[in-house]
């Protein structure tokens, strides 16, 4: 923090819930003396230290890498997943984005397929189950060709990388009024469908992943575009278009 910089105060309304069965409620807290250069999670660290000092239970919140790549953190802040900044995860949100004295409402992701575990922590294992249904190339260790034996046009590799950058945070589901996981599924399906290595299994993969997504209670896609607007990694709805094409191909021309 630069010398002489002013500090900020906030009123926080935070969702507290003992466990997945308990009833949750909003609890109001005040924090003061916050630097504008403080990240949102650092601000919550400060709150939690204060709560511990008072021998109260701190707010449980998922976080780990704190550099926007692990996908662990994800809070619904003033009605937006990852808060009021574009292209960031919650850990990359800074208090300079807020007004001094502002009231900030902090909630967990709300989706049937992501039940609340405690406070702001949700269970996103449904994403793992979708990947387990086919979000990979079925290659075992060893016995593969030389890396340069498969030529991949630069543009294709870049396009694949654009969608492969999904961090599985679940903001797309939280942003969607239907709690649909289409963008998440589309990112993985597109990444592997774009690459020649992923083609042999493309039909099987899309069929199985979509079926698993439906089974787990995610909603349908109605093309509102909220997912794209809130994706911290800028994954576009064109991926959903590709997912739909891949899905139709697998239905019209089954293996």
């Amino acid at each position: 923090m630069a010398a002489g910089a002013t500090t900020m105060s906030f009123t926080l309304k935070i969702w507290r819930q003992e466990n997945s069965h308990a009833r949750g409620r909003f609890v109001t807290y005040k924090v003061t003396g916050i630097s504008p250069d403080c990240s949102f999670l650092e601000m919550l660290d400060i709150l939690n230290e204060q709560l511990v000092d008072k021998f109260e239970k701190p707010v449980c919140v998922d976080h780990d890498c704190r550099e926007g790549i692990c996908g662990m953190c994800g809070l619904y802040i003033n009605g937006r997943p990852h808060g009021n900044d574009d292209g960031v995860t919650t850990c990359q949100l800074y208090m300079r984005q807020f007004k001094d004295g502002q009231t900030i409402v902090v909630e967990p992701w709300r989706a049937k397929a992501f039940p609340v575990v405690r406070d702001l922590v949700v269970d996103r294992s449904a994403f793992d189950k979708i990947i387990q249904a086919g979000g990979y190339i079925s290659v075992s260790t060893g016995g593969v060709p030389d890396g340069n034996a498969i030529l991949i046009p630069k543009k294709t590799a870049e396009e694949a990388m654009d969608v492969a950058s999904c961090i599985g945070c679940g903001a797309c589901v939280a942003a969607c009024k239907n709690a649909s996981a289409m963008l998440f599924v589309a990112a993985k399906v597109s990444h592997l469908a774009l690459l020649p290595q992923g083609r042999p299994e493309a039909k099987r993969r899309v069929k199985n992943m979509v079926a698993e997504m439906d089974r787990l209670g995610f909603g349908n896609c109605t093309n509102t575009g909220a997912c794209e607007a809130e994706c911290p990694k800028g994954i576009k709805m064109t991926a959903i278009a590709r997912l739909n094409r891949e899905f139709i191909k697998s239905a019209l021309f089954p293996e």
Partner: protein, 647 residues
């Protein structure tokens, strides 16, 4: 005294791995189904090992503390992964990668292990391509590479600034496939609490469910630790918040040795600390030094003006800039290894030329590359890193040079393992950053990913068979054995000491203090007096921690404060090991710089006569000092040289 046998195979160094594979025992497919393996950790090493072992038909249980295996901290590795492909036709080879790695580690790693690492490096790239990793490509469709510190060739494969993410997601995909097939069972949000030995062999672990707080017993015929490094001893590091050293310490207390704990890498290019409330450092990839030039002003007056903000760095004329890495190390320039770059930056900052808050930072400037390559190329190479920087610092690195300063990043030290990656406890393996074997006193950039995947895909799945071949008749291990009950009880007792403990300060207060002691006295520059003081200060801090720590909440619920308290206990003990090791190693080598042992020009003075060994520490009981066991290092294939990046 205990004698260490690294079990290096016979033959010339380049033949050792082939010779090993020709002679090792194997386990038949029908027997593999009878054998259970526990893998703790799902980073590159853990995920790749668990997937590969599952593919072979073992019954694997894999554990991670995160909610999903995809979130392990390997995900945050940015720059790339090395391999000796020589696609760039610059004269690279297995031998060159091997010798660069040994030299980079200042000849404090094991020759045979490093050669094997270089040897399997090429298979890793092939494997990852087959899995669908979208590596950067040339217009021809061929794989692209870039350069990293300590190398004069371009051998680093990359996927933008998210290479770790892409490699981990590929390994996670392979792991997910095995979970689906039923060969691997996944236990997320689960922390290892203790290792269980039966008749001296690793036979299982005790875990804590981080949601319910429930303790569980898990049995196996072998236990693989892939739990990462212990950089968070220093509180502020580039490690994830949850990265900890507890599994390593559990193994240590059960008899495994901790090797070279004082070898801790300080990365030169972190974003400077911005406040006391900060809990984590953010790394800016070393790859940026391909196109960024490091400098400070030539005059102290100008440095003061820059610190005050009365002049802008872009206004500093070329002749007023000191590109100190290019000046001191002309042969490698900005791409000297991390330890060298960090120390050179510290030297300038200590001398009063540093910039930023407290004068602790230096500039990393892209203006030359911007003119040479244009914005589009730079954004393609480093776009996500620039975005990260902009969000944190609120400045555009293409307009104002980045400010960077050194920070704790990686631990070369770790559990001692033999050539098979087995610790001194039979059936207990350590892979990836948690072992010590390949990086000596300093790791080269883009080699952590290489080692993690080498261990997990191509080394452990071979070597573990040599042990498991002797376990096929062991039958199912019962978790009702008294050893399991005893371990469970001791974990319970340990936890109860912290349950609803009312004191004066939260856990983080003590962790932050520990970090300060370690950074000041066992960080970039160390001396005997400071290290001795550190030992006393750690002891005092530990005592006040037990007296004054506050931990609200119960053991039978999600309780991150409780978990942090348990981890900090282990960090205290690790800190003592680091300091003891640093005090004992009376030489400067790699990341370990003892002020008493330097040359007139400030370069490290290594002492091969007395310290060409791995320092291994053995637990001797609570409140007892550990004992030192040395594994001498011999170099038969390579000539040990002075580490010189000037010529």
């Amino acid at each position: 005294m205990m004698q260490l046998n690294a079990r290096i195979p016979e033959g010339r160094v380049p033949d050792k791995w082939s010779n090993y594979k020709a002679g090792q025992r194997l386990v038949s497919p029908s027997n593999k189904r009878k054998l259970e393996i526990i893998v703790v950790g799902t980073g590159l090493a853990g995920a790749s090992a668990a997937a590969s072992l599952g593919e072979q038909g073992y019954r694997v249980k894999v554990f991670c503390f995160q909610d999903s295996p995809r979130r392990a901290h390997s995900i945050a590795a940015q720059g790339g992964i090395n391999a000796a492909k020589n696609y760039s036709n610059e004269g690279d080879s297995i031998h060159r990668l091997f010798s660069d790695t040994l030299k980079g580690g200042d000849y404090r790693s094991r020759e045979a292990n490093v050669y094997r690492l270089a040897e399997v490096s090429n298979c890793i790239i092939d494997q990852c391509v087959a899995q669908g990793v979208p590596f950067a490509r040339e217009y021809s469709g061929l794989l692209d590479t870039r350069s990293f510190g300590g190398a004069q060739v371009s051998r680093t494969f990359y996927a933008r600034g998210q290479t770790g993410q892409q490699l981990l997601l590929a390994a996670y995909g392979a792991l997910s496939r095995q979970i689906k097939e039923g060969t691997v069972t996944l236990y997320p949000r689960t922390e290892m609490m203790d290792l269980v030995l039966i008749d001296g062999k690793a036979r299982g672990i005790i875990t804590r469910n981080l949601i319910t707080g429930q303790l569980e017993k898990h049995t196996a015929h072998a236990v693989v630790l892939a739990t990462g490094g212990y950089g968070n001893v220093y509180y502020l590091s580039t490690n994830a918040m949850g990265s900890n050293g507890s599994a390593l310490m559990q193994a240590y207390r059960k008899g495994a040795l901790v090797a070279n704990p004082c070898f801790v890498q300080i990365h030169p290019t972190c974003i400077p600390v911005h406040g006391d409330y900060q809990g984590k450092l953010t790394l800016m990839s070393e790859s940026l030094r391909n196109d960024g030039r490091v400098w400070v002003p030539r005059s102290k007056e100008m440095a003061e003006q820059l610190r005050q903000g009365t002049i802008k760095p872009s206004a500093v004329k070329e002749e007023d800039r000191d590109y100190f890495l290019e000046r001191r190390y002309p042969a490698y320039g900005n791409l000297v290894p991390r330890d060298i770059a960090s120390r050179a930056a510290k030297e300038r900052c200590d001398a009063g030329y540093g910039v930023g808050h407290g004068g602790q930072a230096v500039y990393l400037d892209f203006s030359d590359s911007l003119r040479r390559l244009g914005k589009e190329v730079l954004m393609e190479r480093y776009g996500n890193l620039f975005q990260m920087y902009r969000k944190i610092v609120n400045e555009d690195p293409l307009e104002t040079p980045m400010m960077i300063s050194p920070g704790i990043h990686y631990t070369m030290g770790g559990l001692w393992v033999d050539y098979e990656l087995m610790t001194t406890i039979p059936g207990l393996y350590a892979i990836g950053e948690v072992n010590f074997s390949d990086h000596g006193a300093n790791r080269l950039g883009a080699s952590a990913l290489m080692q993690g995947l080498a261990d997990g895909y191509f080394i452990l799945p071979y070597t573990i068979q040599n042990y498991l071949a002797g376990e096929v008749t062991a039958g199912v291990i019962a978790d009702t054995l008294p050893e399991f009950e005893k371990a469970l009880k001791s974990v319970q007792d340990r936890i109860l000491r912290f349950e609803e403990k009312k004191g004066k300060h939260p856990v983080t207060f003590f962790h932050r203090e520990l970090g300060k002691i370690m950074w000041d006295k066992a960080g970039m520059s160390r001396n005997a007096k400071g290290l001795k003081n550190a030992l006393d200060e750690i002891k005092n801090l530990k005592e006040s921690f037990y007296r004054e720590v506050t931990v609200p909440g119960q053991a039978g619920e999600m309780n991150p404060e409780l978990q942090k308290a348990l981890q900090l206990e282990d960090f205290f003990e690790l800190a003592e090991l680091i300091v003891t090791d640093a005090l004992t190693r009376e030489e400067s080598c790699g990341s370990h710089f003892r002020e008493e042992y330097q040359k007139e020009d400030g370069e490290a003075r290594r002492d091969d006569e007395h310290y060409m060994h791995v320092a291994c520490w053995k637990y001797e009981g609570e409140a007892q000092p550990p004992s030192l066991i040395k594994e001498p290092l011999t170099f038969e294939y390579i000539k040990v040289k002075e580490r010189d990046y000037k010529n």
